[in-house]
Each structure stands twice: as structure tokens, then as C-alpha cells.
């Protein structure tokens, strides 16, 4: 489960209008129930902050430090090499190849958003067996990643399920995972299969929180379903679309599991994370791997920051 990005977390701090928590934002902060001694909150925060430091801040700091050394992960010496690792990364053509791979997943993420939006809209209005369809769409998200990897290794096998089905439609067999031009499309397809359900459920929840009287009013005014979609649903769930878009971009940069399980990164399907993990744990180049990880982290932060600028977080006032 990805962590919520800052934008989302920040918005969530504002209580929804009318909730009893609203009053806490006043200057007197009357919700604070603390008595006496000042160390009590720290007693509760001790363990959470220790974990936060140990597993988030310390690694980030260490990673920055390693990225300027030639450390191999074992030896006692860590020689400072300045920006050498970064220079090596930027001058390696491989780096750009793994970014080209990300583009396939980014395209997949776009398909995923559109599909999820379509199905969420369709299933928000009286559909027979709506819950059954909802269940089918969401279930792939709950499946174990390794199991999904195997399911699709079998599905894409030469002469396997996909070839059989497409054969019935008159399409010839392909090397879905063996053809370097096709492998990333196939893998991005698996990612769409896996994650559409989550995006769909998020959109569905958001659409259902739009007050029904808005549709009724629109219908009285003679608005078509498309107009309602365009002018009520899309603006109503804009924050969630924005959130899903950042998750999609940072997700496409940090793809690991499915290509690692299915192809091990062969045939042109190596992603940034697979490359970094290999650098660190197979080739013992912790310094170089750290520099790569710093670049990835910087990119993800950049995307989140761009999203904050491009999609201003207007709070949705629910009438």
C-alpha cells in the first residue's frame, strides 16, 4: 500500500464541514485534553518516533551519505568519491533505458485511470448485479503479487491462454514476454489488471459522496448523463483523480515486483528499482545504488511537488 502523498495528508487534516472536530482549530484549541506534566505526550511518542527515525529518516540520511562513497556494503572503508556515482549514473545509457521502460507503465497507469473512472461512473447508477461487478473488478488488487506473476507467466506462455483466445479471433501467436518490443506492454498490462480495482474503488467512494440532489437538479434542468459526468462527477472527485495521478506516476517510477518475478528484468524489461537492487545486492555497489535511489526519490518528490502546483487542492465543499 503506498503511503498517501503530502497533498492528501494535508487535506485530510481539515475536518469536513459540520463535523464536531471543527471547533478544535480555534485559537484556544479546546479539544486538547492534556493535564499537567509536559513529558506525557513524549512518552507516547517515544516508540513511534524511534521507528520513524530508524526506518525512514536514518535510511534517507545514510543513503545520501553512501551515494558519495564507493562503499561495497561489506568493507570497513568507505572512500569519499564526491559526485562520481552521480556522474557515472548520468553517463550510463542504461539509466535512460530504464526510464524508457517507466513510460510503458505510465501509459498503463493512464489506461487504468480511464477504465477506473468509466467503471466507477457506470456502477454508481442503478446497475443490475452492481455489487457482483464491483467485486470482480476489485478482487485482483487483493491477490498476492507472486501469484499474479505466475498467473500471467502462464497466461502469456507461447501457445498459452492469451494465444488461444486471440487465435479464436484470428490473431496469430506472439512471444508476449520474449519479444523485447512487446514485453513491457505485456507487463504494463498486468499492472493495469492488478491495480484498476483499487483506483476504481477510490473513485466509486468519491462519486458516492457527491450529494444525490445535485444529479436530481441537473436532471430537472435536462442535463444528459454525459453532461452530469462532465460537470458534476469530474469536478466532484477532482482531488481523488489528482491523488491517483501522483500515485500512478510515482508507481510507474518504482515498479519492481511483477517484472522481477516474471522476467527477472531480462529482455529489456529492467526497471529502475530492479536495476538499483541488482547494483546493491548482486554487484555490491552500494554507493552507486544509493545514488540511483537518491535520484529516484528526488524524482518522486518532484512529481508530488509538480502535482501540488499544477492541480491546486481546492477543497470540495459538499454543498
Amino acid at each position: 500500500m503506498s503511503a498517501p502523498p503530502l497533498a492528501q495528508a494535508r487535506r485530510s487534516r481539515a475536518p469536513s464541514p459540520g463535523s464536531p472536530a471543527r471547533s478544535r482549530r480555534g485559537p484556544d484549541d479546546i479539544r486538547v485534553a492534556a493535564g499537567g506534566r509536559g513529558w506525557t505526550p513524549w512518552a507516547f511518542l517515544l516508540v513511534p518516533l524511534a521507528f520513524l527515525a530508524a526506518f525512514t529518516y536514518l535510511p534517507v540520511a545514510a543513503m545520501l551519505f553512501y551515494s558519495f562513497t564507493d562503499w561495497d556494503g561489506f568493507s570497513r572503508t568507505q572512500d569519499f568519491v564526491g559526485a562520481d556515482n552521480y556522474v557515472e549514473l548520468l553517463t550510463r545509457p542504461q539509466l535512460f533505458r530504464v526510464f524508457a521502460v517507466s513510460l510503458f507503465y505510465l501509459a498503463g497507469a493512464f489506461v487504468q485511470l480511464v477504465l477506473a473512472l468509466y467503471f466507477a461512473t457506470v456502477l454508481s447508477f442503478g446497475t443490475r448485479l452492481g455489487n457482483v461487478f464491483k467485486g470482480f473488478l476489485f478482487f485482483p488488487y487483493l491477490i498476492n503479487g507472486v501469484a499474479i506473476g505466475f498467473v500471467f507467466l502462464y497466461f502469456f506462455q507461447p501457445g498459452g491462454t492469451l494465444d488461444t483466445v486471440l487465435g479464436a479471433l484470428g490473431v496469430g501467436p506472439r512471444l508476449w514476454l520474449g519479444d523485447p518490443d512487446l514485453v513491457n506492454t505485456s507487463l504494463a498490462g498486468v499492472s493495469v489488471w492488478r491495480f484498476t480495482g483499487l483506483t476504481f474503488v477510490l473513485f466509486l467512494g468519491a462519486i458516492q459522496s457527491i450529494p444525490p440532489h445535485l444529479y436530481e437538479a441537473a436532471e430537472l434542468d435536462g442535463a444528459s448523463r454525459w453532461q452530469q459526468f462532465r460537470h458534476i462527477i469530474v469536478p466532484g472527485i477532482k482531488p481523488i483523480i489528482g491523488l491517483s495521478a501522483i500515485l500512478a506516476v510515482s508507481g510507474s517510477l518504482s515498479v519492481f515486483e511483477i517484472p522481477f518475478i516474471m522476467t527477472g528484468g531480462s529482455n529489456n524489461s529492467e526497471t529502475f528499482v530492479i536495476q538499483t537492487i541488482k547494483l546493491a545486492f548482486t554487484f555490491d555497489k552500494v554507493g552507486l545504488a544509493s545514488a540511483a535511489a537518491v535520484v529516484l526519490l528526488a524524482l518522486v518528490l518532484l512529481v508530488t511537488w509538480l502535482q501540488r502546483i499544477l492541480v491546486p487542492q481546492e477543497r470540495v465543499e459538499q454543498s
Partner: protein, 287 residues
């Protein structure tokens, strides 16, 4: 986009066509979801001769009750041990996540102290760092703690890096009236008693959400057990299944059976808790 209501325009030909397209698209989606899974399920019921013979992967197996592959997958794949390891990790990480998340949320929501804003900001900023990017260095931290290659490594990592649960608890805690804390305080309860006797029981719905969302993530995670517990004795559901790749490379009937064994519990939990699962994920990702 064909978004049509079955409303009052039902009778017009255009509306009928739109409804038709709607159900067609939904049916196609169901087929796309089911087809790959059905192929694996059918293959798991085949004998090895049946599976190697080149024939339609969607053909019915000769014997619908051939469970041999499941027995092989379960015993040779050390699935019992994997289930035990997964359950062990699951229980302790959930316990840790709930305690850490609720304590942090209690401290931040119910007390006024200096640097409260800074503490909140620390949690906020951490939410921006995808854990997949920091594993190279996290590996060294885990190594330094001396838990490498034990089940405590994933437990610490799962419990220690879950910012989402802190937010779920924080969100929910705001709806619990402070008057309850005050009443308990007047009765002489201290902060720990209030947290344990008043707050934690009232957080039950939030705990259920965290347990569902986190439980699914832990059960399905591959990356962390793969990196931190390489020994075969410490296989979880994910890594044990991953090991099928070598010895059973060509035996798709056994790999399929293992895959079905891993998916089945998810399906059962999903069917049993459907309603809570949707709302859990909605609040997990959105709030």
C-alpha cells in the same frame, strides 16, 4: 462514455443500446479478470501428462477432483511452514502497527506540547518517501539491529514504516469527544489509563480498517521477505511460492496448484468481509 440510467428513458432505442453497451463492457471486464485465473485453476487440476500435452489451456480437466498437485505443492513447497511464518509476521506486525499508530495519534491529537507541529511534519514528510527507494540503506539499519534473516526484520519494517495507519487513527480520534477523556481524568485516570481503557476500545472501527488494509499488504508483500529473509526455512507465502520457479519450472500443474493455494485465502477473506474491505481501502488511501 456510455453512462446511461435505467431510468425513465428506458424505452427509447438509444437508451436500450446504451444499456446494452454498458453491460457488454462490464461483462468484458469480468472476462478479463477471470480468464487468467481460470486458466491457472483448470491447470492445477490436470495430471502432468495432461498439462504437457499441447492442448487448449481452457479445456476442462479430465478429472475435476484431481487434487494431487495441491498435495505436492503443499508438502514440497513447504506451504505449512510458509503459512506459519506469514501468520507469525502478520500477528506481530499488526499488533505493532496498531499500537504505534494509535499511540502516535493519541499524543498528537490529545496533547498540547512544544514541537507538536514539528512532530506532525515529520510524519507528513515521511509519507512522501516511498520505502522502495530507501531499501539500500534500510538494509544496513536492519543489519545493524542484528535482526537480519529473522522474522523480526519484516515485523519491525512493517510496524515501523506505516504512516497510513497513523493517519487513519488520527482521523478517527478526532471524532471521539474529549469530554470522555476529561470524565476519566476526573475519576482519577492517568494518560496511560485513558489511552488503554477509553481511547483504544473506542478506536475499534479504525483498528479494523488498519488490520484489513495492513493485513492484505503484509500477506501479499514479496519485496521485504525476499530481501531480509533469504533462508528457505523462513519462507513466507510469497517467497515460498516464488521458490516454485526453480524446481517446478516446467511443471505448470504444480505451480498452478501453489498459486491457487495462495490466492484462495484472499478470496475467502474477501467474500466474507467484502463491505469492510472496500471501505477500509477507501479510508486507507484517501484519509
Amino acid at each position: 462514455m456510455t453512462t446511461t440510467s435505467a431510468g425513465r428513458r428506458r424505452s427509447s432505442p438509444r437508451a436500450i443500446l446504451a444499456a446494452l453497451l454498458k453491460y457488454l463492457s462490464l461483462t468484458l471486464a469480468v472476462v478479463a479478470v477471470v480468464l487468467p485465473l481460470a486458466a491457472v485453476l483448470l491447470t492445477s487440476l490436470r495430471t502432468s501428462e495432461e498439462a504437457t500435452a499441447t492442448r487448449n489451456p481452457l479445456a476442462a480437466p479430465d478429472d475435476w477432483f484431481n487434487l494431487d498437485n495441491f498435495a505436492i505443492a503443499f508438502t514440497d513447497g513447504q506451504m505449512a511452514r510458509a503459512l506459519w511464518n506469514t501468520a507469525f509476521i502478520l500477528v506481530f506486525s499488526l499488533l505493532g502497527t496498531v499500537m504505534i499508530g494509535s499511540m502516535a495519534a493519541y499524543a498528537v491529537d490529545r496533547f498540547r506540547f512544544r514541537m507538536k507541529k514539528a512532530v506532525l511534519a515529520l510524519f507528513l514528510i515521511a509519507a512522501l518517501v516511498p520505502s522502495v527507494t530507501t531499501q539500500v540503506a534500510t538494509y544496513q539499519v536492519v543489519d545493524g539491529l542484528g535482526v537480519m534473516g529473522t522474522r523480526w526484520a519484516p515485523i519491525l519494517l512493517y510496524a515501523g514504516t506505516d504512516i497510513v495507519s497513523v493517519y487513519i487513527f488520527l482521523q478517527f480520534m478526532r471524532s471521539i469527544p474529549v469530554a470522555l477523556d476529561e470524565a476519566a481524568r476526573i475519576d482519577g485516570a492517568n494518560a496511560l489509563t485513558i489511552y488503554w481503557r477509553v481511547i483504544l476500545p473506542l478506536l475499534r472501527p479504525a483498528i479494523a480498517t488498519v488490520v484489513i488494509v495492513k493485513g492484505v499488504a503484509v500477506y501479499n508483500d514479496f519485496y521485504i521477505p525476499f530481501l531480509y529473509m533469504p533462508s528457505a526455512d523462513l519462507g513466507t507465502i510469497s517467497t515460498a511460492l516464488f521458490r516454485f520457479k526453480g524446481p517446478y519450472g516446467a511443471h505448470w500443474e504444480v505451480i498452478s496448484a501453489g498459486t491457487v493455494l495462495v490466492i484462495a485465502p484472499s478470496l475467502i477473506v474477501f467474500l466474507a468481509l467484502q463491505r469492510f474491505i472496500y471501505s477500509g481501502f477507501t479510508s486507507g488511501a484517501v484519509k
